[in-house]
Amino acid sequence: MNNNVRNSQPGFKMSKLKELTDKCEHLAFDLNFNAAKKWKAEKENRVLVGYMPIYFPREIIHAVDGLPVGIMGGGDRKQIVIGDAYYQSYICHIPRGIIEMALSGHFTNFDGFVFPAICDVIRNLSGMFQMSNIGKFAKYIDFPQDFNSDIGGEFYIQEMNSVLSKIKEINEVELTTERLNHSIGLYNKNRQLIEEIYDIKQAFPWRLTAVETYHIVRAGMVIPVEEHNRILEEVLYEIRQDIGEPLDKIKVVITGAFCEQPPVSLIKTIELAGCYIVDDDFMLGSRWIQGDVDNTTDNPLKALSEAYLNFSTFSSSVYDIGNPKSKRLINLIKRREADGVIFAAPSFCDPALLDNPTYNKECDKAGIRYINFQYHENIGQFKVIKEQVGAFSDSIKLWA
């Protein structure tokens, strides 16, 4: 029986899984970041560092008594009043939600902010934070697009050190090899657990809906990794059991939604329209490094750098010459045994949208079915998308 259906029965005791997913939903969408602020208040010298999509080496913050807090915008849960005065209509939605949150006190007690290199909008948002004196620092982190260890790798280590020096100015905590290796180990574990959830979802997608998965993974962006790991282990225990019943749905991979997040109702709509989502890039940053980062070296910053250069997932924000992302997407679709792919990109997202023609053509060549649509984080009408996804699902079920 489907978990949601099961829990809606009158008199039914709330299952452990439902309890966990409810908790994660609450954490993931607490736009005031109360859990993170509570964590900071519990001990002196702790710092909160907000980071924007996509990827950021959270290990380095963790290792110096910090909590990296993922900022994914206001979604459809924050009314935009001030933010629209900061952005033209043809710029994507996420930065206006973030600036709205910044200027209306959501980030009180945050110490600093990191803006990973992903596009010009997020880059310039770092300047807007600097100009508006939000936080003690606003640092754009320029990820190398040169993938040589002694060139791009060294530069990346300098970028990480620059973030660390800003934190040290605030809490005077010194980074040590032991501490960073310990943090790397915790995040390795975190990625392993998330990947296991996705593996189980691939084989038994009815055991955990895409929305539940989304809440569970997103919660990890606002709480300490130790706590998230405990939640993930509990979730895994539950979904390793034979729960739920399969429905006649196709399996799809969703890609393009790595920065501005689709509203949860959109994810639900895709599932209701006949799809099991067996992989996605919603919380790509949490799954960025493929495999473990070496946590046994005496130079853990270099280990993080090497992992970024050599074991990053594919992404629209990474220069792909020499390792085309379309091939890697097709490999993922095959590995997940998906029936098709949904290219869902935020409106006005140059990185995602400029990849679509290449992706589409490679899917054509590989005989993989796909659809494209655009959304924005506070879209409220899903009828058209539901019909489009429904027709896509039917076409595969009936004709493939």
């Binding site: 952005y87 930065p95 060139i151 010459i321």
Partner: protein, 425 residues
């Protein structure tokens, strides 16, 4: 240009230079010269020239297509091919032009690239653009130089070192391989000396707008003035001659107390002096310009003319620091500066050039410029106490140029400037 408008010698020189470049590009099959596609911001023209290769700038082709009313069809072609209406129209115009046979602005076929040189400066979309081009020109080598952003408002020694290493490790070896020539530091040194001389002249030329009336328009005419340095002539004797000639013509205008030359002749009365942020619209360039000169508005400084290099702050290519200097040039381009730096620069220009107002032309296609412009505008309004205006258009997509909307907004802006003048009398 109407017949009664006299062409200056500098205009003829520029036309010859550009004509010769396209002729050379048309003859590469015969001459065997290699062709490098690259971008204007952070362009490594000098390095390309030191290997006797010819540059092609996809943005320049796109803007020329826009001015010649060809971009509409190219953009639609790219959209038919799968590109979203939402994305950068320079990219779509270029891809559309390629899909339709790569016929360049002069009507001749633009040769295919022998090298794709991605000077990734100040614009993330460049990276996406070249990923697309790489698919369209399979097998053509790609050299990438990642230009670190001035996120902290400075160029550090580490940033320069990162770029120099990329030049040595990837860019130069690929240029050697494609051109069949060894890197010649002495040759590059000579070219960079010319660049530095040209940059001196550029600064002097754009500084003449301190005069009242301003002898030039630093935006609409300014884009022509920066043309030669932005399409690969920086570092050449021809460009040095062109800028010397242009400067002497402008000085003569200053001596005679003349205002700028417009497509309809000399502007009679200078009523408003403006600083403009953002690129111009190319598809209706003349109509757009006319909206200003009809009202007696002169642009005394513009950020767009610094997109291919900022020289006003003292940067010059340095023949004694070859690769370091090329790197610092890339990192210094306007869109590679952080927002606080951009505000500082614009504020200084408003002050230095005695501007009456500040105007943003916000471009739908260009997030690198556009994201943050509203905050820049309000900051300058508060800090400088001058009227600010805001209009929207696009680079080369005519669907996003609304003449009436822009005219209405500009008229309101000019009224505001007029009232401010009356108050200040």
């Amino acid at each position: 240009m109407p017949e009664n408008v006299k062409k200056e010698r500098s205009m003829i020189l520029q036309k010859e230079m550009i004509g010769n470049l396209f002729k050379e590009l048309g003859n590469v099959k015969q001459t065997g010269k290699k062709v490098v596609y690259t971008f204007v911001p952070g362009n490594l023209s000098e390095l390309i020239r030191s290997f006797d290769m010819l540059p092609v700038y996809p943005e320049i082709n796109a803007l020329q297509s826009g001015m010649r009313k060809k971009s509409d069809a190219y953009i639609r072609e790219a959209e038919k091919w799968g590109h979203s209406e939402d994305v950068c129209t320079y990219v779509k115009c270029d891809i559309g032009m390629m899909l339709k046979g790569n016929i360049g602005p002069t009507g001749e076929k633009v040769p295919d690239p022998d090298l794709l040189l991605l000077s990734y400066t100040g614009c993330f979309t460049f990276l996406k653009w070249f990923e697309n081009l790489e698919k369209l020109y399979p097998g053509v080598p790609v050299a990438l130089i990642h230009t670190p952003y001035q996120e902290n408002g400075e160029i550090t020694a580490e940033m320069t070192e990162y770029m120099v290493k990329q030049l040595k490790n990837d860019v130069i070896p690929k240029m050697e391989q494609v051109s069949g020539q060894k890197f010649d530091p002495e040759k590059l040194k000579t070219i960079l000396q010319h660049s530095a001389d040209i940059e001196d002249l550029i600064v002097k030329i754009f500084d003449t707008t301190k005069n009242v009336p301003s002898p030039i328009d630093a935006y609409f005419a300014g884009v022509y003035y920066i043309g030669p340095i932005n399409i690969g002539f920086r570092g050449t004797p021809e460009a040095t001659e062109y800028y010397k000639e242009l400067y002497s013509e402008i000085l003569e205008r200053v001596r005679l107390g003349l205002g700028p030359v417009t497509p309809e002749g000399e502007m009679e009365e200078e009523r408003y002096r403006l600083v403009v942020e953002g690129p111009p619209n190319w598809t209706s360039f003349r109509e757009f310009w006319k909206l200003f000169y009809d009202m007696g508005a002169v642009i005394v400084a513009s950020s767009y003319t610094r997109v291919g290099g900022v020289y006003k702050n003292g940067f010059r290519h340095d023949p004694d620091r070859l690769l370091e200097s090329l790197s610092e040039y890339c990192m210094g381009c306007y869109t590679n500066m952080n927002l606080p730096q951009r505000v500082e620069m614009l504020a200084k220009e408003i002050k230095d050039y005695k501007a009456d107002g500040f105007l943003v032309n916000s471009i739908k296609s260009c997030n690198s410029f556009s994201a943050g412009q509203l905050l820049i505008m309000r900051t300058l309004e508060d800090r400088m106490g001058i009227p600010v205006g805001f209009i929207e258009s696009d680079l080369v997509d005519p669907r996003y140029f609304s003449y009436s909307n822009i005219k209405n907004r500009l008229e309101s802006f000019f009224q505001m400037l007029e009232q401010r003048k009356l108050i200040n009398v």
